[in-house]
Subunit: 355 residues, 2 copies
C-alpha cells in the first residue's frame, strides 16, 4: 500500500480537534460562526469540542437525526436560523455530524445569500470516508434521495477518529462498506487489508491508515472528474442497486443503512460484472461471502424485483432507458458506463434472491 | 463607442430566435427539454417561438408572474414538475421571461439532481441588460430579496429584442435605468447616446447596439470580479439607495419598479459623489435632470428619511456601521467602497427631498 500524506485538498486528519478547528476557522476570517449538530452528535460529539471556551460568540443549532430528516423542512430550519442570527456572506457554518448533516448543512450554507463558507467535521465512519470528500451537498425531496443539491467543496474537512468510539456497530459497518468499495474499485491491496480487519475488536489505530487510503482513492477519482461525467461514476459501484434498496425501504418505512445497501448492491453488480466484463466467478464469490459475513442476508425478496427495477429507472445516470452500472473487471479495477438491459438485471436478481 | 462583437461568454444577440434556440439547445445534447414561462411571457412571448413544431417532445410549465412569486412555493412547482416528467441531469431548462423567472428557473435547474443545464431567454429590457449576465440565481425568502440562491452561469443567453415590442412603458423605462447606470459607471459615450434616445418612439433597432454595449460593460466588470469582492460593486451604483426605496415600498405595499428605484438612487449617490469624490455639480445636475424627465418626481418624502436609512444599515456590504456606496469620479468612471457616515447621507436626502 502506498504512503499516505497528511493533507489532501481540503481534507486533513486531525489529532487535536480543538486546535485544528480553531485553525481551520481562523483561515476563513468569518465574521460569525455557526455550529450545526443533530441530536446524536450534540450528545456524543459536541462534548469533545470546547465550543464555549474557544468560540464563545458562536451559535449552535441542533437538527433531528436520521436520513428521513434530510428534508426541506430541516433545510428551512437552518436558513431561518441564519436569518434570525444575522448570518451574512462572510459567516461560516461548521457541520458536525454524519452524511445527513454534512449534506444538508453544506447545501444550506452554499445557498444562503448565494454562498457562505462551510467546514465539515464528519463524525461517522461513512461521512469520513465518503461524504467528507467530493463536495456533494443536498437533501432528499419528493421521495427521492439527494434529489435537490449542488456540488461545492467544503472549505475544510477535519477527520478526527476518536468520534468513532461512540459509533454503534451498524453505523460502523455501514461506513466500512464504502471502504470495501474503495478497495474493490481501485486498490486490491486495500481490499485484502480490510477483509483481514477485525470488526469485533475495532482497533481504531489500525483502521486509521485504511480510512486515509479510502479518502485518498475518492479524492483521486473526484479530481479526475469532479462533475461526474465519467470516472467519478466509479464511486457508484454498488450504488445503482443500493439506491433502489434505499428507495424501497423508505417507501416501506423500514430503516436501511446506506452502507448495508451498498454492500448488498456490490453483490449484484459483481454478478453482473461476471457476465458483462468477465470478472472471475471466484472474486465475485469472495465479495458475496465477505458481504454476507458482515452484513447478513440480503433483506429483499423475489416479489420485490419489479419495484426495485422501477426505482433504478429513475437513476440520474441512465441513458435511453438502459440502466448504467459501474462494474469490476477484476478486484481493484473499475469500468464505468456499462449500460444494461432490464431483463439481464432481472435475471441476476432472480438468481441471487431465489429462496 | 467601441465595436461590439457578436458573442461574449455565453451571451448572444439573436436575429432569429427559433433557429438560434435550436442551435443553443442542440449544443447541450439534452435528453429532455423543458420551457419555463410566466403568465405574461406565455401570453406575449411564447407565440413567437415555434415550440410545437421545433420541440414537439418538450414540456412547458407556466408560473405566476410577479416579483412576489419569486418564492419557495413556485420553486417547488418547478422541482415537482421536473420529477413528474422524469427530468435528469442531462435535461435542459429554457427560461423565457424577466428577471424573476430567469433567477428562479436558473436556481431550480442548477439544484435539481445537483445540476441540470439551463438557457436564459430574457424577455424584458431589465433581464436582457442585467439579469442575463453574471450568473446570479435565486429566490426571495423570509421577506428578503434573493436571500437563497447561488451563482452559476447559464449555458447560453439569447437576447432577442422583438420581445420588447410587447413590453409596457414602465418596464421598458425600468430596464433603461440599468443601461443609464452602465453608461454612468463605465462609458460616458454610452450615457450620451442613451440620453439622446427617444423613449416615446422606442426604435428597437437604434436601441440594439446600446443594449449590447450595456451587456458588455456588465460582462467586463463581472469577469474582473465574479464573486463581488470589489469591482463588481460598481454595478451597485444607485443600488444602496434603491434597495432602501424598494424595501420601504414593499413594507408600504406600494409597487416600485427596480429600475425606477435605481434611477432615483443614482440621483442621491451622484450628489454624494460631488461631496466625496469631486464629481462636477454640472454632471450631477444633468443626472438629476435626466432621471426627473424619464422617471418623474422621487416618490419619497422628508419624513421617511429615518426609515430609509434604517434599511441601508442592513446592507450586505457595510463595515463598522458606515454605509458602503459606489460613487462616480466623473460620468463614465466609478469608484467602489466609499464608506459614508449616516449624517452625511441624511443631509443629502434632506437637501433633495425638501418640499
Amino acid at each position: 500500500m502506498k504512503q499516505f500524506p497528511d493533507n489532501i485538498m481540503g481534507v486533513r486528519l486531525s489529532s487535536n480537534i480543538n486546535s485544528d478547528l480553531l485553525d481551520a476557522i481562523s483561515v476563513t476570517k468569518a465574521d460569525k460562526v455557526f455550529f450545526l449538530f443533530d441530536e446524536n452528535t450534540f450528545q456524543y460529539c459536541q462534548p469533545l469540542l470546547n465550543i464555549r471556551s474557544e468560540f464563545p460568540d458562536s451559535f449552535s443549532l441542533i437538527l433531528k437525526s436520521g436520513e428521513e430528516n434530510k428534508n426541506l423542512d430541516q433545510l428551512r430550519r437552518v436558513w431561518d436560523y441564519f436569518e434570525e442570527k444575522g448570518a451574512g456572506r462572510n459567516s461560516l457554518l461548521v457541520n458536525v455530524g454524519g452524511g445527513m448533516l454534512t449534506d444538508l448543512g453544506g447545501f444550506a450554507a452554499c445557498t444562503f445569500k448565494r454562498g457562505m463558507s462551510f467546514i465539515n467535521v464528519p463524525t461517522t465512519l461513512l461521512a469520513m470516508v465518503d461524504a467528507s470528500v467530493g463536495g456533494k451537498t443536498g437533501i432528499n425531496y419528493g421521495g427521492l434521495k439527494n434529489e435537490i443539491g449542488i456540488i461545492r467543496q467544503a472549505n475544510d474537512v477535519l477527520i478526527y477518529v476518536p468520534f468513532l468510539e461512540s459509533l454503534d456497530q451498524d453505523n460502523f459497518n455501514s461506513g466500512f462498506a464504502e471502504m470495501l468499495k474503495a478497495g474493490l474499485i481501485h486498490d486490491a491491496d486495500l481490499w485484502t487489508r480490510l477483509i483481514e480487519y477485525d470488526l469485533d475488536i475495532r482497533d481504531i489505530s489500525l483502521l486509521l491508515p485504511l480510512i486515509w487510503r479510502s479518502v485518498q482513492i475518492k479524492h483521486v477519482i473526484v479530481a479526475i472528474d469532479p462533475e461526474e461525467k465519467a470516472d467519478r461514476r466509479a464511486l457508484n459501484f454498488g450504488h445503482t442497486f443500493a439506491h433502489a434498496f434505499e428507495s424501497l425501504s423508505l417507501k416501506l418505512h423500514e430503516h436501511l443503512h446506506h452502507g448495508y445497501a451498498v454492500a448488498y448492491g456490490m453483490v449484484f453488480e459483481s454478478a453482473l460484472s461476471v457476465i458483462r466484463l468477465g470478472l472471475s466467478p471466484e472474486e465475485s464469490d469472495q465479495i458475496k461471502e465477505v458481504v454476507g459475513s458482515i452484513y447478513g442476508t440480503i433483506p429483499f425478496a423475489g416479489n420485490e424485483i419489479e419495484q426495485l427495477i422501477n426505482f433504478m429507472r429513475s437513476d440520474k445516470k441512465n441513458d435511453n432507458n438502459r440502466i448504467n452500472i459501474t462494474m469490476l473487471e477484476r478486484i481493484g479495477k473499475y469500468k464505468v458506463n456499462n449500460y444494461v438491459e432490464e431483463n439481464m438485471i432481472k435475471k441476476v436478481m432472480e438468481e441471487i434472491l431465489k429462496p
